[in-house]
């Protein structure tokens, strides 16, 4: 998974797989600029931090995919999403391709709050649930000529996302995301 952020990313299993824990932390993530020079997180990165990084990577990957639906692939998206989230994205990309529409600009994760961390147990994957505030004010849909596809519609600003990430083969993947427009987060 391509995750290279200031707050780190996960490339290994969560360090704490013991007793059930539930933590609530808040992290404010500034506008993120991916950089291959960023240090990779170690395997000891805690699940909450790794999941936050994975979500930011997910948002960026979705931006890239929506920005160029014709070239977006399932393989790319499956590096950041799985389960219902992946299915949702693929269906959206189909629609974008069909209408020859793409996204211009990108979203920014403004805030993430981890609601719970569940370690793996039996067949159960390790999971993280978090809330996030995503700023879409610099993101819009345009047609092939670059014209706004939804002219006259109210601009989208902020979205409150409820996110479920699962630890899957060493990566944290977004399995489910609810993204509801809000006026403030």
């Amino acid at each position: 998974m391509l995750v290279a952020l200031g707050i780190g990313a996960c490339s290994g299993p969560p360090a704490t797989q013991g007793t059930q824990t539930s933590s609530s932390t808040t992290a404010t993530v500034p506008a993120v600029t991916p950089s291959s020079a960023s240090p990779s997180p170690s395997a000891s990165t805690d699940p909450a931090t790794a999941a936050k990084a994975a979500y930011v990577a997910y948002v960026q990957a979705v931006d890239r995919a929506y920005g160029n639906p014709e070239k977006a692939t399932r393989t790319q998206l499956s590096q950041v999403a799985t389960n219902g989230a992946l299915t949702f994205l693929l269906s959206q990309l189909d629609a974008l391709r069909k209408d020859k529409v793409h996204q211009k600009g990108s979203a920014t994760v403004q805030k993430m709050t981890v609601k719970s961390v569940s370690p793996a147990s039996g067949q159960r994957s390790a999971q993280v649930f978090m809330n996030a505030c995503v700023d879409f004010s610099h993101s819009t849909y345009v047609d092939a000529q670059g014209k706004p596809y939804f002219p006259g519609e109210k601009d989208y600003q902020l979205s409150k996302a409820t996110v479920n990430l699962v630890h899957d083969h060493g990566d944290w993947l977004v399995a489910d995301e609810t993204n509801a427009p809000v006026r403030s987060c």
Binding site: V101, D176, N179
Partner: protein, 319 residues
């Protein structure tokens, strides 16, 4: 034995339902229902008003439909996208192969690409003040050597719970019983030709005649089932079949040679020449089983048969 019988009959009833009734959704229809319901999974965390958009930014399909129609979007805010409403097979998007719509892990969700079932032991409580429940999303495409993995998912809607199947579960739990045949002359004794034969249910009760009712809840689907014997069909072994409603009237000595006021028969030939020297008698209790729940309703054909023998002679009855 009885449980086996009931299980068998229940299976037969299920077969009849699937084969003949349109009241129960087919497995594919169930899956489609799940998909439709999944579009309202996990409602928005904040109410919407005229100042907030109806579709989330990532849901292009929703926005597109809203834009084209100038009306309500196809999906609710915060949802995963459009419903569609078409009946679809259960398919793994990874392999393209069809899958059983139900399995030991629950009901397949094309939307989430996993089998969903209620989490019997969630690792954390569902948020208070909501109808959300924790489900286990069992994925097959990861770690198949371990039989797949479970992922906790918080859902507002129960995924693809089949109320008809739940009704069958309730029926099995009720353990309806066959009737004990009440008959004169009673088994082991010999009756006289020309005297009336009384037929009745010797063990009347809720589980033999009903009415009996029970409910069960799975997810947020509650099914209530009511069972009652509609009639008992008596086969008397001499080619006569009669149908009686109710339990019949137990014979009393004071009735003498009077025929049964509710359910009886008069043999015209002795049973002496028959195998065992007696008439084979069977009583089939035909139940009317109705259920309602999950926005649906239906009935389940259900029958249980009891058997016995009756000896009729021209000679003086011998004890």
């Amino acid at each position: 034995m009885l449980k086996k019988l009931i299980a068998l009959l229940t299976t037969m009833a299920a077969t009849v339902l699937v084969a003949t009734s349109v009241l129960l959704p087919t497995p594919h229809a169930v899956a489609a229902t799940s998909q439709q319901k999944s579009s309202i999974d996990k409602g928005p965390t904040e109410p919407h008003d005229a100042t907030t958009p109806k579709c989330n930014q990532r849901d292009f399909r929703c926005r597109d439909e809203q834009h084209r129609n100038g009306g309500p979007p196809r999906a609710e805010p915060g949802s995963k996208g459009g419903g569609g409403g078409k009946t679809q097979p259960c398919v793994s998007s990874a392999t393209g192969k069809k899958l059983p719509c139900t399995s030991q892990w629950g009901s397949w969700s094309n939307d989430r690409q996993c089998y969903l079932r209620l989490d019997p032991a969630p690792s954390q409580p569902a948020p208070s003040g909501t109808t959300s429940r924790w489900y286990l999303c069992h994925r097959l495409d990861r770690d198949p050597a371990a039989g797949g993995v479970d992922i906790d998912i918080l859902l507002n809607e129960a995924p693809s719970i089949d109320p008809g199947k739940l009704a069958l579960d309730i029926l099995a739990e009720l353990q309806l019983q066959k009737i004990r045949i009440g008959i004169t002359p009673e088994e082991g004794k010999t009756g006289l030709l020309g005297l009336p034969t009384y037929l009745w249910v010797d063990n009347p009760g809720a589980r033999t005649l009903g009415p009996i009712s029970d409910s069960a809840t799975e997810g947020n689907v509650t099914v209530t089932l009511t069972a009652k014997v509609d009639h008992v069909t008596w086969s008397l072994g001499d080619g006569t079949t009669i149908t009686c409603t109710g339990a019949g009237t137990p014979y009393q000595d004071s009735f003498g040679a009077a025929p049964s006021p509710t359910c009886g028969h008069m043999y015209s030939k002795p049973s002496t020449g028959l195998p065992g020297g007696s008439y084979p008698v069977s009583a089939t209790s035909v139940w009317r089983v109705d259920w309602t729940g999950g926005g649906e309703a239906g009935f389940i054909p259900f029958e249980i048969t009891s058997t016995g023998r009756v000896r009729i002679s021209e000679a003086q009855a011998l004890n």
